[in-house]
Amino acid sequence: MAFEPKIVAFLCNWCAYAGADLAGTSRTQYPPNTRTIRIMCTGRMSPVFILKAFAEGADGVLVAGCHHGDCHYVSGNYGAEKRVNLVSELLPELGIEKDRLMLKWISASEGELFGKTISEFTDTIKKLGPSPLRKK
């Protein structure tokens, strides 16, 4: 059977989650590989969430929030960026390719971009193959 990656997506309520909703109402088609967790702001992201997802066997993790300057809570996305970058540095130590973690800014009006992001990210993960930490 072909490899179907499992991707955990953390989406902020105001931009990326709303963008994903718009992708839905616009019927933008993308691969069914993401499992979404809604948080109020990407600033809520603790580095542990990403590590936990990989530890549980996620093949990819997406963190998506508002563009710089558009954060509903002023500066949450900047915090998210720092933390995601930090985890990204740690991943190779754990034997996980950096490309399995993606940070993306998607506004509430960018449904198409959301679909495109998921399509491209799923492709990337498919090329990388299953995560080395994936449970058999």
Binding site: C15, D21, Y30, R35, C41, R44, F49, K52, Y73, E110
Partner: protein, 682 residues
């Protein structure tokens, strides 16, 4: 304590007992968090929106049989409908459910609906979680039915995992100040301010320009009734300035918006007019004496004004403004002002307003046609915009209402209008600006009334005459006035250097014929674009912009004047292009919506805010530093969150190294459970 029922009794699917017997008293919200979770899963068909792709019965069956703590699951046609909600309420009572998972649309759509249903049945509204299997699943995986069903099962499993750990929350109530800020005093802001003031609320109406009135004040007549814009607008402007409940703050800009629904603190920067507002009588002596003549923005630069000026004679307030950019500092105005109203030492003033609600009505910008260089605007003198044309035919305009060509001051004997300049165009804006068809038709008719011999062409893609009386107006202009409508978008415009006329190359797509049309004057029907302040105001207010750059309403159909920021509303073209009737209707709607909160005097807000566990707090102050709202202070070297200031973003929880800072309803264990469930069955 809930009764223990064997799971098999109430297993999955439609066969589960749906009919309730008891309609007894709703239980008190006494469920405590340490009791055994009894989760009910409700899978919605949404007609065929979900059920057409996802096997909803299979999802419900899976939830009932395979997911821990699910004691009841079912599917239903429309979960959000009255019968659907009733089904949930009855199931809660029947099966002693203490957690509810609704697999349906986006929680941004119906979470409040299902929370209310839970509350009606006697359980805490925050014991509800939604699995978004419509926007995030059935609608985006239309061709992959099996995989969409698998994904739905995963999403439901994640939702149940989270629901098990949800804690009860009590809604918080905050007081709403009975005052409102209206930003922008065009027709939208004026209407909203008057409505709110008439209801008895204190209104602060802030306008950037020296006068209120906005773009409408610049127009000549208005379609389809041919009322003159000034005749219907200026009385409203005067009413606004005289209303006891309206404080007019002109020549001022919003600098900052802080706070939240019910109590916003707004900082306004009032620019110096160098004229004392209380003293100036608008006598005009200063302007007559002023030696500096500059183009008047109100006339789109076609007429002139002095460095000390009012934009137009009916300006409200009728107070002169000294334009510091063009003043040469000669002091003549000060010498002639007998009441000594001129004060060169005036400084910008900062005002602080405390309001309960805000209406953003900051308007639009006219499309800049130099971005369509093929039409020659800015290069050929006799190419003007629709708004410039309004000023040229306006009795109070620079030519006294006589349309004269800019190049030679002669009356044109032929005029062409090009439609959709900056609208419905992949290179500029995709949207329709909604007013250009009608204003071009109206302007064509106005000129034809005076000059029946003049040839007028309107080059269009489609004529959109959708409003009340608009189609009739269009027909009459075409049939009785003889305005020629040509379906085709001109590709390029040249100037005839000898005459100053314009030559248009266009394909008449109805006849499939290439035409070359020569006219004396060309009018570009420019569309609407987001106003220059839209971005900064949106950011200050926390309201997002749509792909078109206009501010985004909370829901395009059901909440068209609300924003996602509670207490902030939109009126007029700041939300998207619209004509005067729609703008006025929306402004009254925004005033009505704002008044709901102020009439009640209090509003329930989400209790999703942060707190800190003192035993775990090590006093590192990271949270204090990253909180964007200054809601965290250190008391005895422990972080303490201020409930009123906290907006519930969870930055503190994300940054806390010990897990002391927590965000209610989005706690670590709840998110961990979702992560686990996303990747593994129990």
């Amino acid at each position: 304590m809930a009764k223990e029922k064997p799971k098999s009794d109430v297993s999955a699917g439609k066969s589960a007992v749906k009919k309730a017997k008891a309609d007894g008293e709703p239980k008190a919200e006494s469920k405590v968090t340490d009791e055994q979770p009894r989760v009910g899963v409700f899978v919605c068909h949404c007609g065929t929106n979900i059920a057409g792709v996802v096997d909803v019965k299979d999802v419900a069956k899976y939830a009932g049989e395979k997911i821990r703590d699910v004691v009841y699951s079912t599917d239903s046609k429309y979960m959000c409908s009255e019968p659907g909600q009733k089904e949930i309420i009855e199931a809660i009572k029947e099966h002693d459910l203490n957690r509810i998972v609704v697999a349906a649309c986006s929680p941004r759509m119906h979470e409040p609906t299902f929370r209310r249903a839970a509350q009606t049945a006697g359980i805490n509204p925050y014991f509800v979680d939604m699995a978004n299997i419509r926007e995030h699943c059935s609608w985006v995986h239309i061709q992959e039915k099996e995989k969409a069903t698998e994904k739905s099962k995963d999403l439901v499993r994640m939702s149940v995992a989270r629901a098990r750990l949800l804690e009860p929350q009590e809604k918080m109530k905050v007081a709403v100040k009975k005052s409102s800020l209206v930003i922008g005093a065009g027709i939208a802001g004026i209407q909203a301010a008057l409505d709110l003031a008439d209801m008895g609320y204190q209104v602060y109406l802030v306008e950037k320009q020296p006068t209120i009135g906005g773009k409408m004040a610049q127009l000549d007549k208005t379609f389809p009734t041919m009322d003159c814009a000034a005749c219907i607008l200026t009385p409203k402007m005067v009413d606004t300035s005289r209303h006891e409940n309206i404080e007019l703050i002109t020549y001022a800009e919003i600098k900052d918006i802080k706070g939240f629904v019910g109590s916003f603190t707004v900082t306004v920067n009032k620019k110096p007019r160098y004229v004392l507002e209380d003293l100036c009588t608008g006598c005009m002596d200063c302007a007559e004496a002023c030696p500096v003549e500059v183009p008047n923005e109100f006339d789109q630069g076609l007429g002139s004004r002095k460095a000390i000026y009012v934009p137009f004679p009916q300006a409200v307030p009728l107070i002169y403004t000294l334009d510091e950019d063009t003043c040469i500092g000669c002091g003549v105005c000060k010498n002639v002002c007998t009441i000594e109203a001129i004060d060169f030492n005036q400084k910008p003033e900062e005002l602080t307003l405390e309001v309960g609600t805000i209406i953003v009505a900051s308007g639009y910008n006219v499309f800049d046609p130099t971005r369509k260089p093929e039409y020659g605007y800015g290069k050929y003198e006799n190419v003007v915009t629709g708004l410039e044309f309004e000023r040229l035919i306006n009795a109070s305009g620079p030519t006294g209402g006589k349309l004269l060509r800019p190049s030679d001051g002669k009356e044109p004997r032929s005029i062409a209008f090009i439609q959709c300049v900056g609208s419905r165009d992949e290179n500029t804006n995709l949207y329709c600006s909604r007013v250009c068809c009608m204003y071009a038709i109206k302007n064509a008719r106005l000129y034809k009334e005076k000059h029946p011999e003049c040839d007028i062409y309107i080059f269009y893609i489609d004529i959109r005459a959708f409003g009340k009386g608009y189609e009739e107006f269009y027909k009459i202009t075409q049939e009785e006035y003889g305005v020629k409508f040509v379906k085709g978008r001109p590709s390029v415009v040249y100037e005839d250097e000898k005459t100053g006329g314009l030559i248009l190359n266009v394909e008449d797509t109805m006849l499939g014929r290439k035409l070359e049309v020569g006219v004396d004057m060309l009018v570009l029907s420019v569309g609407m674009e987001p106003g220059s302040d839209t971005d900064s105001l949106g950011k200050m207010a926390g309201v997002s912009r749509g792909a078109d750059g206009f501010l985004l309403e909370a829901h395009p159909k059901l909440r068209p004047v609300d924003t996602l920021v509670e207490g902030i509303y939109l009126a007029g073209t700041v939300q998207g292009p619209k004509d005067i009737p729609d703008t006025v209707a929306q402004a009254s709607a925004a005033a009505g919506r704002a008044s709901i909160l102020m009439a009640k005097g209090e509003v329930e807000v989400d209790p999703i805010i942060a707190y800190s566990v003192p035993e775990l707090c090590i006093g590192c102050r990271i949270c204090e530093r990253i909180c964007p709202f200054g809601a965290i202070t250190m008391v005895d070297r422990k972080a303490v969150m201020n409930e009123a200031k906290c907006k519930g973003c969870g930055l503190c929880a994300g940054g806390c190294p010990t897990g002391a800072a927590r965000l209610r309803h989005f706690k670590d264990d709840q998110i961990f459970a979702q992560i686990h469930a996303a990747l593994a069955e129990d």
